[in-house]
Structures are given as C-alpha cells and as structure tokens.
Amino acid sequence: MKQAADREPPSAACSMLAIKKKGRVVITAILDIVIAGLIMGGIFALIAVGLNLQYGVARVLNLAHGEFIMLGAFGAYLLYVLFGISPLISLVICAPFMFLIAFGIHRLLFQHLRMSSKSIAAFEGSSLLVAFGLSFVLQNAAALAFGSTTKAYSYLTQSVTLAGAMFAANRLVALLFSVAFCLIIYLFLAHTRIGKAIRATAQALDTAQLVGVNVYMVLGISFGLGAVLAGLAGALISMTLSISAYMGLQYIIIALIVIVLGGLGNIIGSLIGGFILGIVGSAVMYFNPGLTMASYYILFLIILLVRPTGILGR
C-alpha cells in the first residue's frame, strides 16, 4: 500500500491525495503496532508479575517459570481437545492445580534450601540453580508426556476490527483477561489479610515472623501464586499461539527482561514493563519479525547499563 502511494503521478491534486493516503497508512500502521503491542504486552505483564512475585517474596528467581507457563498451556490444550472445555473455563480448573504443584515444589525443594542457607544471597544463588535444573526436568517430562511436536487449537478466531485494525477475538480476550488477572493480584496483595502478610514477609521476613506470620507458609503461597499466574498466562497463550514442550525458554527470557525493566521485586513496574516490551516487540515485528528477540535483548542491555534498578526501581 505504501509503495502504491509512492507511485502516484506527480499532479498537485494527486500528490495531495497521496499525502493524505500515506498519512492514513502511517496512522493505521501505528495503531496496528500499538494495539498488537498492548495485546502481547498484557501476556508479558502477566508472566512477569508472576515471576516477580516469586522473586520479590520467596526470593527464588524461578528459571522454571517458563515451564509453568507451558504446563498451563498444555492443561488448557488437553482440556479443550479431549473434553471440549472452553479455555476460559479451564483457566479456573488449571489455577488450583498449578498452585498445588508449585506449593509442593516450594515445600520439597526451596524451603529446605532456605532453611539450610546461611544468608539470603546464598539462597538466591542456589535456588536459581535448582530452578534451572527444575526447568530441564519439567521440560523433559512434558516432552515425554505430551510429545515434542508443536500443537495448536482454534478458539474464538473470528476477527474483530478495532480502530481500523483487525485482530482475532481470542487475542483481545487474552488481553482483557491478563489485565484483569494483574489487577486482581494487585488488589489481593493490597487489601486482603494474606496479601498483607505476603507484603510484610517480602519487606522483613524476621519481623513478619515476630508478629505472628507463618512465613514459610507465606513463601509457599507466594511461590504458588506466581505459578498460578504463569499457568493462567500459559492458558491464554494457548488460545492465540501454538504451543510445545519447549516453549518455556522464550517466555522466561521475556519475563526476565520485563522484571529487570520494571525493577526486580516491583510488581507495578513489571506491569508497565510488560506493556513497554510488548509495544517495542510489535514495532520491531512490524518491520522485521526476525529481529524481535534481538530487540528485546538490546532494550534489556540498555536498561542494565543505564538504569539497572529498572524504571520504577529505588
């Protein structure tokens, strides 16, 4: 379309028309980029908020987060393909399972490690490596259980026109749900009793313990909640994109970049960072899809060098 506008004959009226047309093309392109970016960004934010909850409270930089996303995605996929359950309903079914799995993993692996580590810094290092090992275990187990091929199903694929740009309905649904989940988790942390206990534990574990918070329970719960968000994100991803047992790696990298962008441990920062990364990604994708991942990484590099505490960091 752009080239067509360039090739207009050089008469005055026509060139006016061409400029108008070109302007409209540019505006549509920008809208395209922004809306597609918001849609991707919603999922990114949801993933990053989950990871940040795990790191900010339980101090586990969970490199297996991508594998929890994959588990959620396969949960939704299997429920849809085997029983015809809508992915939006399987969100509700998957969440408690993800919570139990993650809570159990925290109890089994990280709690012991936390107790035996002398300092929090030592715990962060070794828990990261345990999570790294866990990611390979989960990935391999999933490849054995579900096969290593790429899978997809179609759900809500009719197109919706939004401000002149066309999108599949499932993407908009995914955006709405991910924003809703982020808000819910924010309100949960801000206003409920458990939420307050979680924040207290994140700020000062020993003091929280002194005022009667069962801190290991709280650490487990926040690790579990992080995994629930990952699972929900996975289910939403499975509606819009193809999934495989090896999908975790790309999402964990995105999540890491987003939480560094927003500030380690800062949940609102992750929310904003997710949308920023989504828009940057969709802008690069518009011009050259092959370089999307590289652009994320360059953004990450700039943030690390210029402001390593992130945009909202202290």
């Binding site: 002398k118 990261l128 090992g133 391999n140 054995l144």
Partner: protein, 335 residues
C-alpha cells in the same frame, strides 16, 4: 627403601599418576575400541567446558550461564572458515571467543549477582536468534555441513586443548591473579581497597576461560559435521558445565574434572538405555546436588573440610551485601 618412599610420597606420587594417566589417554586410540574413543571426545569436551567455567565462576562466585554462547562462536568459526587448517581455526575461534569474552566482561562484569546471571542466561539466546536471523536472511541456509574428520584426529586435538586448559587454569589458580580472583569472590570492595584492579582481573580471567570454550567448539564442530544455530547455541551446553562443576565440587582443582567425567559417562549410559530420560535424570541429579551436596563430591571425599564456606555462598547483590560471604560451616537450622 628410601627411593620407594620418595616415589610414594605425595610430592612425586601425584605428578607420576598424572603422567601415567596422560600416557594411557594418549595411547588410547591404539588399544581402545572406537566407541570408547568417541566417548572420550565428549568427556574431554565437557571437562574443558566445566574446567573453564569453574576457573572463573568458582573463585569469584559470578555464575555465568553463557558457556553455550562462547562454545557456539567456536562452532560457527569452524563452519565459516573450514578451508583453513584446523590448528589455525582453533586459534582464530578461541581468539574470537576471547574477544567476545572481553566485550561481555566489559559490559556484564559491572553487574552483580542476579543481574549478571540474567544477563549471561539471555546472552546465548541472543546469539542463537541473531545466528538464525543471519542464516535465514543473509546466507539463506538453515545449517552448515562440515567435512567430517576422523574421530582419532579429533581425539588428539581435544586432548591437546584439554591439556592446555588444565595447565592454564592450574597456573591461573596458583598465580597472584588466582588469589586476586579468590579475594574478589570473598569481598569485592575489600579487594579493591587492598589494591587489586578488580575489573581488570575479572575481565581478563573471564576472557581467558572463554578462549578454551571457543577452541573446544571449533573442534567439536568437525566432529558433529552438521551444525545449525540450535545445536551450536544449545542451552544444555550452558547447563551441563555448571552441573558437572558443582557435582564434582568447585572447592578443589580436580572437582570439575571428576564431575565432568562421571556425569558424561553416566549420561552416556542412560542415553544408551533410556534415551528420553537423559535430561530428566541430569536435572534431578543437579537439584539433589545443589540441595544436599553443596560441596560436591569433593566435599564428600574431604569430609573433614567442612570449615570451608560452601561455594556459591557469595552471590553478590548490589548494595554492599558482599561482606555476607564469609561464612562458616553449613548447618541445618529450623526456621
């Protein structure tokens, strides 16, 4: 009698045993079946990777997950320059890897703790994506074929690189720079105060270890004979050396060697019997080692050595927490 005592005393015993092992290894293609020779090529590769990983990351507590990136650089150098003779490519691949290590060191070693780990974790992914982009859009290929080399030749090249790695890491550890690295690992601020040029030592030590990763990549590419970005920058290649070094124990020089040899043989046996469960098993070993064996096998062997702080104790976060690293024996305490 005196002579025998002198031979069995530790001073001569260790070098003599090492010499004997070296002779046995060097003569291996003469007496061992080809299968064993090929197995030993991968053992050499993992020993090189885990030794060079541990040489920097062990003393300094900077955990690098970018081994695959430097290895992959070597692999691609080998594929692109395959007309040259192998020793030349090894040097070029190693130097490219070293240069990249310098660059990464300049950027990344200012980051601490988590940020450094995240940075290196993403680095090999970045390389993979850039390489895939390069292959598809610029050369229009998916992967590359290399001329296949006789495993025996590959064996000798790998043995040579292995020896070089062992010698360099050994003398690095024994030199004043090794001591400086150790000191940086214990407290970076204090090291700077006693006059160590912290950034310089870190960057150069890191780059030197990268050289061997790259060199190993060059030779292994000729062994594989087909490469693509997914093989060359495989995240497992970042994961394995860490598992092996920690399994063996990074408190002692021979720890990573022990870990690499045992895990490679174990993983080969599992691969032969249950090919699908290989990574699952490695992951489980890794988790168990980190949680229950923080000193690795070396810690088991030297049971009395519990006074030494466990490795990885000093992951440093921004904000002056580096001084937390001087720690005593690991004790379970109830929360």
């Amino acid at each position: 009698m005196n002579g025998i005592n002198a031979i069995t005393s530790k001073r001569y015993f260790v070098p003599l045993v090492l010499l004997a092992v070296l002779i046995l290894l060097a003569a291996m293609p003469q007496y061992a079946p080809p299968y064993i020779v090929i197995l030993f090529i991968s053992i050499f590769m993992y020993v090189i990777l885990s030794m060079s990983w541990a040489a920097f990351c062990g003393p300094t507590n900077y955990i690098s997950l970018a081994t695959a990136a430097f290895f992959g650089i070597g692999v691609y150098t080998s594929a692109i320059l395959q007309e040259l003779s192998l020793p030349v490519i090894i040097v070029i691949g190693g130097l490219l890897s070293l240069l990249l290590g310098l660059l990464v060191g300049l950027i990344a070693l200012r980051l601490r703790g988590m940020y450094f780990i995240i940075f290196t974790f993403g680095l090999s992914e970045l390389f993979r994506h850039v390489m895939i982009y390069y292959e598809i859009n610029i050369t229009g290929t998916a992967g590359r074929w290399l001329t296949f080399l006789d495993p025996v030749i590959v064996f000798y090249y790998m043995l040579g690189i292995l020896l070089a790695t062992l010698l360099v890491t050994y003398f690095l550890k024994r030199s004043k720079y090794g001591l400086a690295l150790q000191s940086i690992g214990e407290s970076e601020e204090a090291s700077a105060h006693i006059g160590i040029n912290v950034n310089m030592v870190k960057i150069f030590a890191f780059a030197i270890t990268c050289f061997f990763m790259g060199a190993a990549g060059v030779v292994m590419a000729t062994r594989w004979s087909y490469i693509d970005p997914r093989l060359a920058f495989n995240p497992f290649l970042s994961f394995y050396p860490v598992v092996m070094a920690l399994f063996g124990g990074i408190g002692r020089f021979y720890g990573p060697v022990l870990g690499a040899v045992i895990i490679t043989i174990l993983s080969d046996m599992v691969l032969a019997k249950f090919p699908l469960y290989n990574i699952l098993l490695l992951g489980l070993i890794f988790i168990v080692v980190i949680i229950f064996l923080p000193h690795g096998l070396v810690g088991l062997i030297r049971g009395g050595d519990k006074e030494a702080p466990p490795p990885l104790g000093g992951i440093k976060l921004g904000g002056g927490k580096g001084f937390e690293t001087v720690r005593k024996r690991l004790k379970l305490r109830k929360g």
